[in-house]
């Protein structure tokens, strides 16, 4: 190809079609990109709950809360049971069998 054919090149550049962009073209492109990146909306409340459960942050937080609640309730219950056992031990030692 010849490189010194400047008038032909200029003519070709002038003749190339430059279509008009539709209105708000750039804005629409960005909106479609955002829509594509956004997570899909759950179909039902059950799907929404399942999606929430599967989030690692939620799962770790819920497991921690349940673990702490279990330990607290168990400790409280254990203390009451131990207190009751100790009270019964004392009572058994001071109350004659004949009166029980």
């Amino acid at each position: 190809m010849k490189t010194d054919d400047a008038p032909l090149s200029a003519l070709l550049r002038f003749a190339r079609a430059r279509p008009e962009l539709p209105p708000r073209f750039q804005q629409n492109v960005w909106r479609r990109i955002e829509d594509a990146e956004a997570p899909a909306q759950p179909a039902s409340w059950l799907d929404a709950v399942a999606a929430l459960i599967l989030r690692p942050r939620f799962a770790v937080a819920a497991a921690t809360v349940l673990l702490l609640a279990g330990i607290s309730a168990g400790t409280l219950e254990g203390r009451q049971a131990a207190r009751h056992d100790a009270q019964m031990n004392y009572l058994a030692s001071v109350t004659p069998h004949a009166l029980r």
Binding site: L54, G70, N89
Partner: protein, 163 residues
């Protein structure tokens, strides 16, 4: 939908297992750590916040009371044996049976009085407020059961009647 349901059920089961496991483990650990079956008086020390000196005095009272209590138990057991033999296979309430019943009742009353006397002595070895609380609790625990039984027999629900 089905997958979500499986996830939800699995999560609930896992959560319940986690809660139950931590509950039972901590409960058993607490009972094992806080219960001292070797010492009958551990409840007194913990419940009424007693000092070493107060505990030593109470232990002395307790050890003095135990032989008296055992002796009274033996007397009641012997008297009940006599009552059983008098009752035999008879179907009538004889004068002798009535006498033995009265003797058993008298011994039980004597035993209760001795026990109350011990509770009073122990309560006096405690700080006043704790002593009162101890005495009230011991009365309720040792005599309350009889009250309940008598109330249920007489149909008294415990309501006070104002005249």
């Amino acid at each position: 939908m089905k997958r979500s349901l499986v996830i939800l059920v699995g999560a609930v089961a896992l959560g319940a297992a986690l809660f139950a496991g931590s509950f039972y483990a901590s409960q058993r650990a607490t009972v094992a750590c806080c219960t001292k079956p070797a010492d009958d008086l551990s409840w007194l020390r913990n419940e009424f916040h007693l000092s070493d000196a107060e505990m030593a005095h109470i232990r002395e009272l307790h050890e003095g009371y135990l032989p008296q209590c055992a002796a009274m138990c033996a007397k009641i057991a012997a008297k009940k044996g006599e009552l059983e033999s008098v009752l035999g296979t008879g179907t009538n309430l004889t004068a002798e049976v009535q006498t033995k019943l009265n003797e058993v009742a008298a011994l039980r009353a004597q035993c209760q009085a001795q026990m109350l006397q011990h509770f009073i002595a122990v309560s006096q070895a405690m700080p006043p407020e704790q002593g009162q609380r101890y005495l009230a609790e011991m009365k309720q625990l040792t005599l309350g059961t009889n009250d309940l039984m008598e109330q249920s027999m007489s149909g008294d629900t415990g309501h006070e009647h104002h005249h």
